[in-house]
Structure formats: structure tokens, C-alpha cells
Symmetry: C2
Subunit: 353 residues, 2 copies
């Protein structure tokens, strides 16, 4: 992906910095962990610190001291999670802030403008996201509005820095997915996302829908699966033709004491780690794995030392990016099938993202 | 100070890593912030992870991945803070763990052995610390037991890696301080600490007692003032003849959004910082001050992003160590008086350590 702040090699995992900060990690650490692009959240930034502050800071990149590409989501996912605190109409969505209850309104136009003005490299159009399971009426309306809103976002005067990606909805209904994909592809966006997954369906349903939907999107443009971030899901998504994904999963796991490794996840609160002086993941060359023992990390989590979340968040982002790096090399070498067969992840210790 | 893991230039501030972790900071960051020695806490390490784990890890240095000097306090201060949960007798002190209520006993011997076995560079003898104000009987008993216990600690078979420092008690009673100092100096320790201050007395009382007590200690050996860590207190202590000090103050302030600067402390929750795009401290060259704005730090604290505590803890330790570095240069250049006159700290915004 050629973006205003640099080129992103795909397939690529995008760490999430909801409030213009990837939790527990500095930009320097993100670079060291081979992150190429980070995601920030329109809903959260809109409410705090707000457009004026980010513009006055010189844009989102300068504000958070990250000079590589930034993708901002549309805030749709967060607003639709608010349930009783939002009201949807065909023109947009009105919602109450989770911070202070104040009323705000998102339209395809103002969300697009917000993302342009803060200087996002990739801005997502406002979409209507539905929790699964959902009725056909709900899904049909989501698809209809998502297309209409994508058209309206595309009509917002462009700024050279920002590329808009449209979103495909439709739940697990493949006919609706096909219609949604066809409608947004007609609008000729520079990239497309598969939204409305990782919202309550099974893993197999998610895989199948991703594969069928990705196949409907133009192969020469980025295809982005929203909300995916376990090692297994990322490999499955790449196999389905996806180019990029984002998730809070690696950093959330890191804060909660769960280490991502190719052999499965390790819970640092497990008693067996208290006297385990081996590296967290002997096959990983990140600074956490080469500097500290499992026993020390276990001690930090048990003692509620902030170092624990820091060191484990770093490892998780590093490890997932290392996997992506190997995936790119495998694809380039024409070895994807072999790579996929080699990277089987222990299922039992995985938890859903 | 020539110690097993290196030489420490004095005067020197020692960041506190209570549970074998300086809160929010990695060893690499401590080095970058010019820390020469860190302090860890016998009481906390005794309870968790415990002697066996640290020994199995290869000692405290390897456990926490810090290969420079480490000073461990005796745990006396923490045990005596437990108040109703401890029972003092002439032989030692029995206490209930704050973690699980289990009963433990500290004696001068077992505390000395613990510190030797985990590999401390500097071990503090077990002392009796009294909260101020205190009766003369309490203070007299504290002095008597502290001397007796220092004698018993000195009788524990030495290990080459560890130097023992004795502690002077006596509250604000200068006659008792003189007696305590005379008694422990007779035992010929490689260093001496001034204990029982920063425990409820006024700043002026603390300064006066420090000055009088430091004057009673041999000038050719390290003099350590326990529990001091504001910029102003450190400069006053150096002026009183003190060589090293420790405090959780810089990291605790950092976690709570308070930045230490020579112009006074800044509270990042203050509304005026929300749209202040200047560096935290324009005169500081630490990575926090050269990378982020006050507005971004304020945003991190308001958004409860862990980056806020991280970045501010780093700045505070860096800034205090930079002050110590300048103090050393001034002393070496015979310019201490000028340095002291130049570094007047805004009093109003200082809070007690």
C-alpha cells in the first residue's frame, strides 16, 4: 500500500492505538517491533482530545509522534456497540458520549472530514455495523445504508494525504455480502474492508465469510479484514486473500498476562511459570524474550508491576509482526502453501479475539 | 562507591525498584536516564518471589536484568510501617505478610543473609525505625536495638559481593543521633545511612537533623539519606554532606501525572496543558521532552493510557539524575556554592516526598 507517510508491505498486521496511543508501547518500540502502520479510532479521538486539539498539534502523526502511516476507523463499530445510547437514521447516527453523556452526531460527511483534517493516511467510510446473529431486515438495511454512506463519503472533497476505504457488510448472508461488495466496488475506492465480522459468529463462519467476500473484491487493491489479530486468524485471513487486519488482541492479551507464541498462548499467572527461568519464547528474538525469564514476567504480573504489561505487549506485537514478515517472504518465494502447512497453531490454548 | 557491580559516582540518586522492578521503567531506560544503582526492597522480595526463586534465577541482578549495582534496604522501614501487624522484641521482629497474612520473622542475621544470598552490592542492616513524633523512650530503644542489631549483622560471615551499611537512628533528638552515630561508627562499616527521617517531621527539621547527623559520620565513607527524592531535598542533602539518597518520589509522581522540573512541578491533569504543544520541560533533553508535547502527555493521563505514567516516570528519573550529574560537576569544579545558589526550586508547587 502506497500511503502518504510511506509504503506498507502486505500482508500486514496493524496494531491499534485507540486513543492515539498503542497501549503500553512507544512509537520507537512499535518501529522496533516492525509495525508499519497503526490504527487509531475516530470515535475516541472525536470525543477526546477532539479535532481542534489534534489540528492544533499539527495532525495526528505529530500529536502521537508516529511518522509512519496511520489508518483511522470510522467510529461506526464503537457507535453501534453503544446500543441504547445511539439512534440510527438514514442520514447518520446520533449518540451519547461514554465519557460524559454529551450528544454527538456522526454522518458520512463529518466523519470523512474529521479523518481528513487530522491527517489520516487511510480513512474508513462510516458504515453500519450489526451484531450477530441479526435478522435479514437488519442486515439488509446495514448493507443499503453502508453503500449509500460510502457514496456520500466519496463525494466529500478529497485531500491528497488521505485515501478512503469502503466497507462491505452483510453478516453471514453471502448474497448480501455479494451485493454489498458489488455496490461499493462500483464506487471505485482505493481499498476495501470486510466489516461486520468478529462480532459474535463462530470462527468457521468468520473464515468462510471472509474467504467468499475477499474473492469478490478487486485483487489489485488492499483488502482489509477488520478486528482480527490472533496468529491463527491472521494466517487464515491471508489464506483467504486478505492483505491487512487490525486488532487490540495482542496488546490486550499482553496487559492481561497472555503471551502469544506459535506453540499456543501462555498465561503468565500460571503457577508453573513462577520458577521457570527459560525465555518467554525461546524462538523469539524480541527484547522481552532475550532479556527476561518467564519467572520474572510471572513475578511482574503477580506483583502488578507495569513492566509486565509493557514487556508482554511488546512481545505480542513483535511476534505477530514477525509472523507477518515470514508470511510475506513465503508468498514472495511462492511458498505460501508450505508456510501455511508449517504454521499450525495449538488450538486448545487459543482464545477468541 | 566501589561496588561489586561497578563504581557509583556520588552524589547519586538511587531509583527504587521495590519488587525488583523500577515501576514502569526497563533497565535499558534506567541506563539511558543515567541511573547508576537501583534500590530493591528486602521486605517485598522476601515475601514475593522469595529467596529460593531469586537464588534459582542466579541472583537479583540476573532476575531483574540489571547488571549494575543494587542496594537492598533491610525491610525494617516496611515492617515498622505495618504497625498492628508486627511485634518487636530485642531479638528481632515478627510480622504478618500484607499479601496473605502469613507470619514471618526478621532478625539482623536472617535479613543480612537474605541480602547476601540474593547478591546485593549494598545490604542495609536491620534497624528499628520510629514514626515521628515519638517519645524519648521509643527513640532510645530504637537507637539501642539498631546498634545491637548492626553488631549482630556485622558478625554474619561476609561474602565478597556484599557491603553492609549501618543505620543511624534517633529521631530529631540530636544527642541520641550523636550516640547512635558514635556507636555504629565504632563498628567500622563501609558506609552509613541516616534513617528515621521523612517520617512525619517538617522539612526544616529534616534538613537540620540531616546536617548535624551527616557531620558525625566519617567523610571518607558513603553517607546515605534514606527516603529523599525531590529536587530541592536532594540539593539540600548534598549541601549537608550526603552522598546518596533513594525515594519512590520520581516514579510515584510520574505515575500520578506530576512532572519534576527545576521551575517546579507540573500537574499533567491541569486544564492549561490540554492545548499546550510545547515540550514538557524545554530545558530537558530526555526522550519524553524531545518527542512529545505537554498536550499529548495530558491526553495520555486523561485517557488513562499507560504511556503517560511511563513517559513521565522516565522524565522524572532522568531529570533528577541530570541534576545529580550537574551537582557532581559543580563539586568537582569547586563551584558547589554557585550551583546551590543557582538551583532554587519553586517552593509553592513542590509537594512532600
Amino acid at each position: 500500500m502506497q500511503l502518504a507517510h510511506g509504503t506498507v508491505e502486505t500482508p500486514c498486521f496493524m496494531p491499534v492505538g485507540t486513543a492515539a496511543a498503542v497501549k503500553a508501547l512507544t512509537p520507537a518500540e512499535l518501529l522496533a517491533a516492525q509495525a508499519q502502520i497503526v490504527l487509531a479510532n475516530t470515535y475516541h479521538l472525536w470525543l477526546r482530545p477532539g479535532l481542534d486539539t489534534i489540528e492544533a498539534a499539527g495532525g495526528i502523526h505529530r500529536f502521537m509522534a508516529w511518522d509512519r502511516p496511520i489508518l483511522t476507523d470510522s467510529g461506526g463499530f464503537q457507535v453501534f456497540s453503544l446500543e441504547s445510547r445511539r439512534r440510527l437514521d438514514d442520514d447518520g447516527v446520533t449518540f451519547a458520549s461514554h465519557l460524559d453523556g454529551s450528544e454527538h452526531r456522526f454522518t458520512p460527511e463529518n466523519v470523512a472530514e474529521f479523518q481528513q483534517r487530522i491527517g489520516s493516511d487511510v480513512a474508513m467510510v462510516l458504515d453500519v455495523c450489526v451484531k450477530l446473529p441479526a435478522s435479514s431486515e437488519q442486515l439488509e438495511r446495514a448493507v443499503r445504508l453502508t453503500t449509500a454512506w460510502a457514496r456520500r463519503a466519496a463525494a466529500v472533497p478529497a485531500r491528497p494525504q488521505t485515501k478512503f476505504f469502503a466497507i462491505v457488510q452483510g453478516g453471514l448472508d453471502l448474497e448480501l455480502r455479494a451485493r454489498s461488495a458489488r455496490e461499493v466496488v462500483e464506487l471505485d475506492f482505493p481499498g476495501y474492508a470486510i466489516g461486520g465480522l468478529s462480532v459474535g459468529e463462530t470462527r468457521d463462519e468468520m473464515y468462510a465469510t471472509t474467504r467468499r467476500t475477499a474473492a469478490l473484491l478487486p485483487v489489485e487493491k488492499p483488502r482489509y479484514l477488520m478486528g482480527v489479530g490472533t496468529m491463527r486468524d491472521c494466517v487464515a485471513a491471508i489464506d483467504a486473500g486478505v492483505d491487512c487486519f487490525d486488532s487490540v488482541y495482542p496488546t490486550r492479551c499482553g496487559r492481561n498476562g497472555r503471551a502469544m507464541t506459535r506453540g499456543g498462548e501462555l498465561n503468565m499467572f500460571n503457577a508453573r511459570f513462577v520458577a521457570d527461568f527459560t525465555p518467554l519464547d525461546p524462538s523469539c528474538d524480541c527484547s522481552t524474550c532475550t532479556t527476561y525469564s518467564r519467572a520474572y514476567l510471572a513475578h511482574c504480573f503477580r506483583s502488578k508491576e507495569m513492566l509486565g504489561p509493557r514487556l508482554l505487549s511488546y512481545h505480542n506485537v513483535y511476534a505477530l509482526n514477525a509472523l507477518m514478515c515470514e508470511a510475506r517472504e513465503a508468498i514472495e518465494a511462492g511458498q505460501w502453501g508450505r508456510f501455511k502447512a508449517r504454521t499450525t497453531f495449538a488450538q486448545s490454548s487459543q482464545i477468541d479475539g
